[in-house]
């Protein structure tokens, strides 16, 4: 296996192995810790609903929610499920599916290598049958209904549905009761064989472990497969938004809002530098040191729930402001007004350097914890940058980058999603 070591000036370092199958393995040894956290992921999420494996001749369209469904089913094997195997070791295991990835993970303070074996084994050995698929449809249906009652989930997905015409990011990660009813065990195998190919996967481990031992296990356990050339179905997504406003009534105390600004994409994915620049921009625009934050708080338009997020992945990018407010329209007005003011007047240079200092502090804080280290390494494997690059990228953000980011936030491409109390 090809091995590279990366270090920073504080003596932190991590190892990146590339297996002959194409699998990327990132390991950070933290000998001062008692525990370890390992994650085995694939670049396959809820948005991958159309793909071709024959060079683009034919495309397979699969039901929405299938990636999440597959995640549930992968824990099962012919002789029991992975949870009962982890019960033997005492590890705490879980998995999650997001828009662009599916990850299987565990944390433990004992028997790491046994747990790692279990992880590599069950993720590489699918077992789907008609009977087990039918059974899962009921329980996932319940999960979907649970999210129907979650205002913070609904306000986000209502916004995405109004923002996007075609892109599958507009569909709930778990799909709908109707879409999951169309899932068959054959379709699960099609998706598995396409996306659970080591060349499309990554492993990230942080904690009290030895990188070379991990490499040796990977070498032994990873099953080589013919590389699959996946072409994802292209989506003809216009730059404009579908609707500027959407609302729903739920049993909530006061209105919730999510204001999104759709960004145009010049490449399928935003670069690490672009993402960092937007992170800095959002702190300057609406962070808790900003004039906007003070104005919104003092005019009683937001409370402690207010937050910003840069939401981006393959084929989508949006900036979101969310929170609770009796007057979401006025929140939107003030945000738009402040964006224009900053573009015209320029930004406070001292605030820029202060915000960058805090972001540097946040990165250091991330190394306090095995889970956040491994998750950050997974991010690196997904998007192809280095764990220590961020610090350099932050210092490179100047006023022109911030103004550039602000100019992408256009009112005509915004969506205001509101959840209103009933009655």
């Amino acid at each position: 296996m090809q091995k590279q070591v990366f270090s920073n000036r504080f003596g932190d370092s991590y190892v990146c192995f590339t297996h002959s199958s194409g699998l990327k393995v990132l390991v950070m040894e933290k000998p001062d810790f008692s525990s370890c956290y390992a994650l085995f992921g694939t670049k396959y999420g809820s948005i991958d609903t159309s793909f071709s494996t024959d060079g683009g001749k034919t495309f397979l369209n699969v039901p929405e929610g299938i990636a999440h469904f597959l995640e549930h089913k992968l824990f099962e094997s012919e002789d029991g499920d992975a949870f009962s195997r982890y019960a033997e070791t005492g590890a705490s295991a879980n998995a999650y599916t997001s828009f662009d990835r599916t990850c299987y993970l565990f944390s433990c303070s004992n028997r790491f290598y046994d747990n790692f074996d279990i992880l590599l084994d069950f993720v590489q050995h699918p077992y789907f049958t008609e009977q087990t698929v039918n059974k899962e449809q009921g329980i996932i249906g319940q999960e979907i209904r649970m999210y129907d009652d979650s205002p913070s989930w609904r306000v986000l997905f209502n916004m995405l549905e109004a923002m996007y015409y075609e892109h599958p990011v507009r569909i709930d990660i778990a799909g709908t009761t109707d879409s999951i009813a169309k899932i068959t065990y054959n379709l699960l195998y099609d998706c598995y064989n396409t996306f659970y190919n080591p060349a499309n996967m990554f492993i990230a481990v942080a904690g009290n472990v030895n990188a070379d031992e991990i490499a040796a296990i990977v070498e032994k356990r990873i099953i080589e497969r013919e590389p699959v050339k996946v072409i994802r179905g292209s989506v003809n997504e216009p730059d404009r938004v579908k609707e500027n406003y959407t609302e729903q009534c739920l049993d909530v105390a006061s209105p919730l809002f999510c204001l999104g600004f759709k960004e145009a994409l010049t490449a399928p994915e935003k670069t690490a530098a672009e993402r960092i620049a937007m992170g800095v921009t959002l702190e300057i625009l609406a962070g808790d040191c900003s004039q906007l934050y003070k104005e919104l708080t003092d005019s009683e338009l937001i409370n402690d729930e207010f937050e910003t997020e840069y939401f981006t992945g393959n084929g989508y990018a949006a900036v979101m402001f969310s929170g609770e407010s009796e007057e979401p329209y006025r929140v939107k007005e003030k945000i738009v007004c402040e964006i224009n003011r900053l573009i015209n007047d320029g930004i406070d240079k001292e605030l820029l350097s202060t915000v960058k200092k805090a972001m540097y502090g946040d990165i250091l804080r991330r190394f306090n914890n095995c889970e956040s280290i491994a998750s950050a390494m997974a991010e690196c494997a997904m998007f192809g940058y280095g764990l220590f690059d961020e610090q350099e990228l932050i210092s490179a953000v100047g006023e022109s980058e911030v103004i550039g980011c602000l100019k992408q936030l256009k009112e005509e491409k915004s969506v205001l999603s509101v959840i209103l109390p009933r009655g």
């Binding site: 504080f10 933290k30 001062d32 810790f33 008692s34 525990s35 009962s84 019960a87 033997e88 070791t89 005492g90 590890a91 705490s92 295991a93 944390s107 433990c108 303070s109 004992n110 059974k135 009921g138 329980i139 319940q142 999960e143 209904r145 649970m146 129907d148 009652d149 979650s150 205002p151 913070s152 904690g207 049993d251 909530v252 105390a253 006061s254 808790d288 040191c289 934050y293 003070k294 708080t297 003092d298 009683e300 409370n303 402690d304 729930e305 609770e324 202060t354 915000v355 200092k357 805090a358 972001m359 540097y360 502090g361 946040d362 250091l364 804080r365 306090n368 914890n369 095995c370 009933r422």
Partner: protein, 426 residues
């Protein structure tokens, strides 16, 4: 891990946990006040106000700016229920000095800032300022009302308040919205003084080194107050058994129901009730627990179903998400699994899995600053405080029969259900 406890004044103790694995150091001040109906809203509001301004930083934006300049130092203030107390926690976490670009004393300055917030609040003539009060009241009232939004937490809180209706633990931790609204600047200032005079205070320092001069600064600050009548943190009341099960149902326009069942169980601490901890875990802890494997996986009666024990208050609760038509069946199934526990029909595998899982997570505590902080905050009300590693050893002495005996003393007390009502519109 060595634990170093230093007594700084009457009812004031500091615990330093030297851990080298973090890039930050965490310092928390934990004031334990009696949990009472008359004061709960005041003690919920106080941390909010204290953490947003002080005499030196009269404007919250200036304070936020200062924290950002300290490499994003984090100040968090919260109020939680611990035993028969309300714990007001003020925390600062900042990067260790060696990471600062220009050799700044980040940690020292961050701790000085926290002391400034706690001991020199922005007040005049024995009262807080009306505009600060108004701002923080609004945010707290929003949070109280907002509890309704996430139905799972809402349902759990409803169960606790109905089940412990004659115990202070049944009080909602933020108080009632109308009580918050009625608090005056003078009253809140008095609550602040009471906190510093009679609150049992426990300071936690978790990180590479004890910030220089910290203990002396705290002693000097406390000298301005004549401490006395310190909160008795050890006096804890347990849930009383009921003659018949109390049932409460709320109907709302929701897609899915929530069922939360409350039980009385033997009350105790880490010397007397580790059997309850283990029993609770086998019953409804991890994915190997009886509730997950049977009620969720085999019977598909709920999407989630797990048990949690609050041992010092002598109760357990089972919390689940159910479809309306399954609510009754789910309740029966959960009680059925409790019978399995009482009859000792759980397997050796389940027993061993629970022990391994509990020990695995106990050993991981040392890797989380917040985890350690919370651990010692909750354990402070036990007469003997054990580290996670010590509990890890003690758990080995709990036998199968101990678990069965503990289960036999579990009794259903209150059932709370939040169910969908028939929609009138659409």
């Amino acid at each position: 891990m060595p634990q170093e406890i230093t007594k700084l004044a009457e009812g004031v103790e500091a615990l330093f946990l030297p851990v080298n694995s973090f890039n930050t150091t965490l310092v928390s001040f934990n004031f334990y006040m009696p949990l009472e109906k008359e004061t709960v809203a005041k003690y919920a509001l106080l941390p909010e106000l204290i953490a947003t301004c002080s005499k030196s930083y009269p404007d919250y934006l200036a304070l936020n700016y200062r924290l950002t300049a300290l490499y994003g130092a984090d100040v968090v203030a919260t109020a939680t229920k611990v035993g028969n107390c309300m714990c007001l926690k003020f925390t600062v976490s900042a990067i260790n000095d060696r990471f600062a670009f220009g050799g700044e004393k980040v940690m020292e300055e961050s701790v000085a800032l926290l002391l400034d917030l706690i001991f020199r609040p922005k007040a005049e003539n024995g009262a807080f300022f009306e505009d600060d009060l108004k701002r923080e009241k609004r945010k707290l009232i929003d949070r109280i009302k907002g509890e309704l939004n996430e139905k799972r937490t809402f349902a759990r809180n409803r169960l606790v308040s109905e089940m412990l209706d004659d115990d202070p633990y049944g009080l909602y931790k933020f108080g009632k919205a109308e009580d918050v609204a009625a608090i005056s600047g003078e009253e809140l200032f008095e609550a602040w003084k009471t906190m510093l005079i009679s609150g049992y205070l426990r300071i936690h320092v978790i990180g590479e080194a004890l910030p220089a001069g910290l203990y002396d600064s705290i002693k000097a600050e406390l000298n301005a107050f004549e401490r006395g009548n310190v909160t008795d943190i050890y006096s804890i009341t347990a849930l009383k058994e009921r003659q018949s099960v109390k049932r409460v149902t709320d109907l709302m326009e929701v897609a899915q129901g929530k069922l939360v069942m409350g039980f009385s169980c033997p009350a105790g601490d880490d010397d007397t009730s580790l059997d309850v901890m283990l029993m609770n875990d086998i019953f409804g802890g991890g994915p190997y627990g009886r509730l997950f494997t049977n009620v969720r996986e085999k019977m598909s009666l709920c999407y989630y179903c797990s048990a949690q024990a609050v041992r010092n208050k002598g109760f357990m609760m089972v919390d689940s998400g159910v479809e309306k038509e399954n609510a009754k069946k789910a309740e029966e199934a959960i009680l059925g699994q409790l019978e399995v526990m009482k009859n000792g029909e759980f397997t050796d595998f389940e027993f061993a899995s629970a022990v391994k899982s509990i020990k695995d997570s106990l050993r991981s505590y040392k890797d989380s600053q917040n985890g350690l902080d919370v651990w010692y905050t909750i354990k402070a009300i036990n007469r003997v405080v054990y580290s996670p590693e010590e509990i890890c050893e003690k758990i080995d002495s709990v036998t199968r029969q101990d678990v069965i005996n503990a289960a036999k003393r579990v009794k259903l007390n209150t059932v709370y259900a939040l169910l969908p009502k028939e929609r009138t519109e659409e």
